[in-house]
Amino acid sequence: MQPSLENVREAARLHCLRRMKILDSASDDAFDAITRAAARHFQTPIALVSLVDEKRQWFKSRVGLDVCETDREHSFCAHAVAMRDMFIVEDAQKDPRFQANPLVTGPPFIRFYAGAPINVNGYDLGTLCVIDTEPRTFSAVEQRELKRMAHLAKRQIKLKARMAGLEPVQALAPE
């Protein structure tokens, strides 16, 4: 069977993510500054730099969450990555896609989610996201700000890769 374009793209995305050698790396002040700033600025209890791996999402930095990864199946961020765009759920309890999600029905009881893709060399490797346990709206200005903060995370990933002497992955799509 011919692999679909989507599958090819996902394989390339995962390849790019692994080339960055960032998964399961130690915590890092530079990323922690970003999540801390995001949580403070958007006044949410949770902010994450989440990287979407093949079967899981792994958090490079987290504010307000104890676990360092969750499975991809229930990941909100995977939606943002799949959409390759800003992804917002204003109230997860009222959204049929997430009503039964264990992250909604159980800890950390997500109601609100906003995630902006972190795009490296044309691939959305994950998101910078802010999460609340109360439903809320997210204005156009706030969306723009979250995108710009995701840009900070992208810069940090690229910088680390460059400092580690890793070759930049060939871009499939322009950034």
């Binding site: 700033a37 403070r40 209890p45 700000e145 810069r155």
Partner: protein, 590 residues
């Protein structure tokens, strides 16, 4: 034959004839003479008609005649008007010796040229006859023109000097009044001429002046070019652009023409400067007003960092007058202690609590209102009272901040060093001595310096700053990201902190490139072990991006504006206790 009437004869003579007594008073004049100077002359003398210098010339000549000689002399009797007068001794009825004079020729010239004779008085239609005398006159005029030329020319450059330029201005004003065509006066001033002279010698300096003069002359449509001061040039041009845009474009082209590097010997000298422009008759109505207003525009242009040109406008005048007032009031304000320190907290981006305060100066004056430090510090530097001001602010600040340091409300006090201080020998020792007197440990002091202050003399600056740093003082490079912001400065100077200029902070919300630049600066700071401080943070979004970029310290109105000690005491009291730290804005602490 009836007796001829002598006075009738004399009145018929078409030459002015007069008699003076021994006191130079006119006691007789024929009709032609009266025509020349009016009927009411009896008993008067040359002083009623001529300037003092001219009178002296006449009377020297007169004295020779009173002594018995005859004289034939050409005399200047007004602007470009000459008379050739024959004088002979004349015995007056009372036995004293006076003189009889005949004005035998009279020439008036316009604008110093001899080609056009305009007798101011009707000399009976007689053309000047005496060609020999005329030749002598022409020579005299040529000499006079040459003398004028010399007097109006700058020896170093061959351009007009100040006199010459003023004459040209007067003439151009007359032309403009006649034709209705406006014209512009532009003053130019070189930034670093003194340094070129000091460092490379006067030959190099003269070469620079000559080359600049040549370049100015090459500008199309220039009417007159002058060097009117050491490194100050002036041009008069009739080419005036109507729109600001065209004007600015033209100024930029001018800049490119004038401020190219100059080669003197085997050296390439960098040339920069400023310009001020004033337009007749829109901005000024006399030559001296044009000059002074163009000078004001030049002055305001010079206040900015790089080449800039300013066209005179009412704002320039207001700014200039304000500056003059500041100059007048400043020394007294310093004496009276009217200029006081105020303090702006610098906060940790993680905890948002104060880690230090920057000492700034504030001056509120009854007439001037609030005078910004930008205004009075530069003035204080120019008029040489900056040292006094610095010391006054310093001792008050040390007094005010001691309690905050002792209570642990802040870790450091940040002071601004004036550019001159940083490069002056002995500054470090003096600063440390004053700290010791104030009883403040150097560990608690951060000294903010400007990049511009160290480029003057890198080695002196490095010596001073090194010494201060060895004693525990932190050194911060202020306003980084404005002007040239040389990367080399980060390596050349012993530094602990980098203050990211507010212009970058303000751009961070809008401009991706600025955001990238700020991230890079923070990373650069980390690599060089410099603490970065963002200045001028005013909005939450700015603070979020800056914090996200990893900048550890923030300063700006968002947190607290510069305040008096009492007001800042209150501000400290409102700050959340340390234990809650960064969690204050989170709904549920992690």
């Amino acid at each position: 034959m009836a007796q001829l009437d002598l006075s009738e004869i004399l009145d018929t003579v078409p030459y002015a004839v007069f008699i003076k007594d021994s006191q130079h008073r006119w006691v007789y004049g024929n009709a032609a003479f009266r025509e020349l100077i009016g009927d009411d002359f009896l008993g008067k003398d040359d002083r009623d008609l001529f300037g003092e210098e001219q009178v002296q010339v006449f009377w020297r000549e007169d004295a020779r005649v009173f002594a018995g000689e005859e004289s034939l002399n050409e005399e200047e009797i007004g602007e470009n008007r000459f008379a050739i007068t024959k004088k002979v001794p004349f015995k007056l009825p009372d036995g004293t010796t006076g003189l009889l004079g005949i004005i035998i020729d009279y020439i008036a010239t316009s604008s110093g040229e001899l080609d056009k004779k305009v007798p101011a008085v009707d000399l009976g239609g007689f053309e000047p006859q005496m060609t020999a005398l005329k030749r002598r006159l022409e020579e005299a005029l040529r000499e006079k023109n040459l003398a004028i030329e010399v007097a109006y020319t700058d020896a170093a450059t061959g351009l007009r000097n100040r006199h010459g330029l003023e004459a040209d201005l007067a003439r151009q004003i007359a032309v403009a009044d006649q034709t209705g065509r406006p014209f512009a006066l532009a003053l130019l001033d070189l930034d670093n001429f003194k340094r070129i002279n000091d460092r490379f010698g006067h030959a190099a300096g003269d070469e620079v002046l000559k080359v600049i003069g040549r370049r100015l002359k090459e500008i199309p449509s220039v009417i007159s070019v002058g060097r009117i001061g050491g490194d100050e040039f002036a041009i008069i041009t009739e080419k005036i652009d109507q729109t600001d845009e065209a004007r600015n474009e033209r100024l930029e082209r001018l800049r490119q023409i004038i401020f190219r590097p100059i080669f003197a010997g085997d050296r390439e000298l960098q040339i920069s400067g400023s310009a001020g422009v004033c337009i007749y008759p829109a901005d000024a109505s006399t030559g001296s007003e044009l000059l002074s207003r163009a000078d004001m525009a030049l002055f305001s242009a010079k206040r900015s960092d790089q080449f800039s040109a300013k066209i005179f406008d009412s704002a320039t005048l207001v700014a200039y007058q304000r500056r003059i007032q500041i100059e007048e009031k400043l020394p007294e304000a310093i004496r009276n202690g009217d200029i006081v320190p105020v303090y702006q907290p610098i906060v940790s981006s993680t905890t948002r609590r104060a880690v230090g305060v920057e000492v700034l100066a504030r001056w509120r004056n009854e007439d001037l209102g609030l005078v910004s430090p930008d205004e009075f510090i530069s003035t204080a530097t120019d008029i040489g009272v900056i040292g006094k001001l610095d010391r006054a602010i310093f001792s008050q600040a040390m007094h005010d901040t001691r309690a905050w340091l002792e209570n642990g409300q802040i870790d450091f006090v940040s002071l601004n060093a004036s550019p001159m201080d940083v490069v002056s020998p002995g500054y470090a020792a003096d600063f440390l001595r004053r700290l010791k007197e104030a009883g403040i440990s150097p560990d608690h002091i951060c000294l903010e310096i400007l990049e511009s202050s160290i480029v003057e003399d890198v080695s002196s600056a490095r010596r001073n700053l090194g010494k201060l740093r060895d004693a525990g003082v932190e050194i911060a490079l202020d306003d980084y990201g404005t002007g040239y912001s040389n990367l080399r400065a980060l390596l050349d100077m012993p530094l602990d902190k980098l203050k990211i200029d507010k212009s970058l902070v303000w751009g961070i919300e809008k401009d991706d490139k600025v955001l990238d630049l700020v991230i890079s600066l923070v990373q650069l700071g980390r690599a060089l072990e410099l603490t970065t401080v963002a200045e001028g943070v005013e909005t939450n979004a700015q603070s979020a991006f800056i914090e996200g970029a990893g900048c550890p310290e923030l300063q700006g109105y968002l947190f607290c504006k510069p305040q008096s000690r009492a007001a800042l005491d209150e501000w400290f009291a409102t700050q959340a206790p340390a234990a809650e730290g960064s969690g204050e804005s989170l709904k549920s602490p992690v």
